[in-house]
């Protein structure tokens, strides 16, 4: 269980609250989508949920962030690393730059945790297997396509076996093929029992992937509910986010006084 209780946060040196009074709960096995216009607090929410803010970034946080009922206040990210992981949108900045093969790159997390080699190897194999990228194991991490590199980034976090995974626009810099690969990977992940929070602009992706969607506006939670009801809500576009194509089209058809001839997939 990943929980934010009445969380407000501001960055160091800034007076403005980027998040105000956020309450959010994500249980194991849930895939929760996070939407919001740019600068609405999506990325900040991801940093706070993973403990990087204020842990690494600094700033002032009021309220509580709890991981499996344990408060994270005062804990450094390496303490939290095996409980909650964060994946960013740029595959290149997540590459350590010190490994020659994907296997070593993915194993870095467990190795950093001080695990014996046998455990590091087992976890690495599990992560590569779950994301179906065993065939990339001997490749040079610096020479992969965007989609492949992002899968390696996700595997690198996964190998640490966090119970919760936060992804901040993981497909933003990927082509449709890469987006599809990451989408498949996240679906596979959820079946392992992890709790996922995925921030995205691509609401079509979230529509397919998430059981629940949370919307952020001006640093506060504006909507929180089952994916179909949030994404299908007529007021959704006020959030500054585009709705999934199927809802848009269904609405445009009924606005024109017509009926939909068949189901929209």
């Amino acid at each position: 269980m990943l929980e934010l209780r009445s969380v407000s946060y501001r960055y160091p040196g800034y007076a403005r609250l980027v998040l105000s009074d956020v309450n959010l709960r994500i249980a194991s096995g849930e895939i929760v989508g996070l939407v919001g216009r740019n600068e609405s607090g999506k990325s900040t929410l991801c940093l706070v949920a993973s403990g990087l803010a204020p842990g690494s970034v600094g700033g002032v946080l009021t309220g509580e962030v709890l991981i499996d009922s344990m408060p994270t206040r005062g804990l450094r990210p390496f303490d939290l690393a095996q409980r909650v992981g964060l994946v960013f949108q740029n595959p290149n900045t997540q590459r350590s730059g010190v490994t020659a093969t994907v296997f070593e790159e993915v194993a870095l997390g467990p190795v950093n945790l001080g695990l014996p080699v046998a455990d590091s190897v087992e976890r690495t194999r599990w992560a590569l297997d779950t994301l179906k990228i065993e065939d990339l194991a001997d490749r040079d991490p610096a020479k992969l396509s965007g989609g492949q590199a992002q899968l390696v980034a996700i595997a690198s976090i996964l190998a640490m076996r966090p119970a919760h995974l936060v992804l901040d626009e993981p497909t933003a810099q990927l082509d449709p093929e890469g987006t599809r690969l990451v989408g498949q990977a996240l679906t596979a992940l959820a079946t392992t029992g992890s709790a996922l929070l995925v921030a995205e602009h691509k609401t079509d992706l979230l529509d397919r992937l998430c059981s629940r969607v949370v919307a952020v506006d001006g640093g506060a939670i504006a909507m929180d509910g089952p994916a179909a009801s949030v994404l299908g809500d007529p007021n959704f576009e006020r959030l500054g986010v585009e709705r999934p194509a199927r809802y848009r089209i269904a609405d445009e058809i009924s606005a024109a006084g017509l009926t939909v001839p068949g189901a929209i997939p």
Binding site: L47, S50, L52, G55, S56, V57, D68, M70, L75, R76, P77, F78, D79, L80, A81, Q82, G85, L86, F88, N90, T93, Q94, S96, G97, V98, A100, T101, F103, E104, A107, L108, G109, V111, N112, L113, G114, L115, P116, V117, A118, D119, S120, V121, E122, R123, S156, I157, M160, R161
Partner: protein, 281 residues
């Protein structure tokens, strides 16, 4: 619940196949010399360099070259490359040293005169000796550089006790250069697309420095922030030792060699300082 406690190690022990796979991840060695432990190679390079400077004259540096450097270079199949590289690197300094010492070294035998300056035999002597030492240094350090994979060196140091954080910083620094070059090229392309003229007059090219250098620095800084957050998430900041996937082998004979070199150097130092033996010519 102790947040730093790692889950109990629970994996079954490694099979031989596993061990073979992990060993295959280490950088391949293409010659017997490269297979030597990095510390051994580093010791050879350091002792060779220091000895060349401690011992004066012509014979000693040449002897060091012949005993410590050239056999290794031959074993690594890198002699020609090494000589070329070392000559190239030591050339600029050698020229300035030569020019300065030939004309300014106090001496009695004048060989020729250029303007108000006298070139003395003592000056030439001194210059040649310095150049020789510089060349030996370049050769010794060059041999180390050509035959040692930097990543393997860092892994070996960590096994010997270097802090993982320092080890990472060292390894990451080595990787930075190709990344910076790639970034600089991308920036140059973007600025040229905005009309920055890199093919025109010298004045135009000088004016183009800021738009090229500025983004290199600024984008590196912004990227550094996200990069360091990504590293934190992978527990790079965690204190404590790590159990690495592969290590570089070391053996008793190499240990003996390293200590032998150190002792030999101590002996040289003592004889030189105390003046027990006359210096070689």
């Amino acid at each position: 619940m102790n947040p730093s406690a790692v889950a109990e190690p629970s994996a079954p022990p490694l099979t031989d196949a596993d061990r073979a796979y992990l060993a295959s991840l280490a950088p391949p060695a293409t010659s017997p010399y490269q297979r030597l432990n990095p510390l051994t190679k580093a010791t050879l390079a350091t002792i060779a360099t220091l000895s060349a400077f401690v011992l004066g004259g012509y014979l000693a540096p040449l002897a060091i070259l012949g005993i410590l450097v050239i056999p290794g270079a031959l074993a690594a199949g890198a002699l020609r490359r090494l000589v070329r590289g070392a000559a190239l690197v030591s050339l600029p300094i050698s020229i300035s040293v030569a020019l300065v010492s030939i004309f300014t070294r106090a001496g009695t035998t004048v060989l020729f005169t250029v303007g108000p300056f006298d070139a003395t035999r003592e000056g030439v002597d001194f210059a040649v000796q310095i150049i020789l030492r510089l060349f030996v240094t370049a050769m010794a350090l060059g041999l180390f550089g050509l035959t040692t994979e930097p990543h393997a060196f860092v892994v070996d140091l960590e096994r010997r006790g270097l802090s993982p954080r320092v080890a990472f910083a060292a390894a990451a620094t080595l990787e930075t250069i190709p990344l910076m070059v790639e970034r600089a090229l991308a920036i140059q392309a973007a600025q040229r697309a905005r009309g920055l003229d890199t093919e025109g007059s010298l004045g135009a090219r000088i004016g183009g420095v800021m738009p090229l250098v500025g983004p290199v620095i600024l984008s590196s800084l912004t990227e550094v922030e996200e990069r360091s957050l990504a590293l934190e998430v992978r527990a790079f900041g965690r204190p404590g030792r790590r159990d690495l996937l592969w290590t570089v082998p070391d053996d008793g004979r190499q240990r003996l060699l390293r200590w032998g070199l150190v002792v030999a150097f101590m002996a040289i130092l003592v004889t030189r300082v105390s003046g027990i033996l006359t210096p070689l010519p």
